[in-house]
Symmetry: C2
Subunit: 144 residues, 2 copies
């Protein structure tokens, strides 16, 4: 029925996620997401999306825009069990045609192992400036 790739590890699924993002490839992006779980996606400074249809639509909109992004990740911290893995990564985002890097983001990516290998079930990304008050002078002084 499906020609979707099988990811044999969460790390492999994560690599495919960021490759799909760099190529603005919607099919490759959606192949990384789980079809079994109630998926959750949080794009920076946007409302939380729940469910595959909303998540797909958000990537479709991003990929049809003119902005091309490439993301390098670093400083991965992993919490892993046999069936579920959570990766916290710092995202370094470059916009095609711009020399300057965007301020760093932090992402929490959750992968689950199912019958068809590892799939993404949650992606939560947000700004993580190194100097928060310089980056957002309007930011409230409460940290939570």
């Amino acid at each position: 029925m499906s020609n979707k790739p099988t990811f044999t590890s969460a790390a492999e699924a994560e690599a495919a996620f960021y490759e799909a993002l760099a190529r603005s490839d919607l099919d490759a992006m959606m192949a990384v997401w789980s079809e079994d779980e109630e998926v959750v996606c949080v794009h920076p400074d946007n409302p939380r999306l729940v469910g595959l249809a909303s998540v797909r639509e958000s990537w479709r909109q991003l990929f049809t825009g003119k902005v091309k992004l490439s993301v390098r990740t670093s400083h991965r911290v992993v919490t892993a069990t046999m069936q579920l893995e959570v990766h916290s990564v710092i995202e370094h985002i470059a916009v095609e045609g711009e020399k300057r890097l965007q301020p760093p983001m932090v992402a929490t990516n959750v992968y689950m192992r199912g019958a068809l290998g590892w799939r993404l079930v949650m992606h939560h990304a947000s700004a993580a400036p190194e100097n928060p008050h310089a980056a957002r002078p309007d930011a409230p002084r409460i940290v939570h």
Copy 2:
């Protein structure tokens, strides 16, 4: 050796987390966090913190400030296995003495089951305005 409470479910640990926050109780807050795993904490619009010492210091600073917060959570989406649970929640934050609610936040909370019950290993919170461009006119137009 320890008088720390044992949480028999991730939901119980989560309730204790938000109670500790509402009471600005540092000991109760740190009793929720795992001492076994490399913990991660992201406060909204702040750099990611890794390790118990940094995480503890961030809560100490928050709790010694003058701002008292109470947080109600809603719309919990759970991804669960026997040993690891991930909760995505919407946080509705009230600042003591202010009538108006803060804009909603989204949090991804990760709990692991160890010998001493369920403990928090990651907390990632960020702004999730219902209308992102109204809330942050300076927000970049890229969503990732």
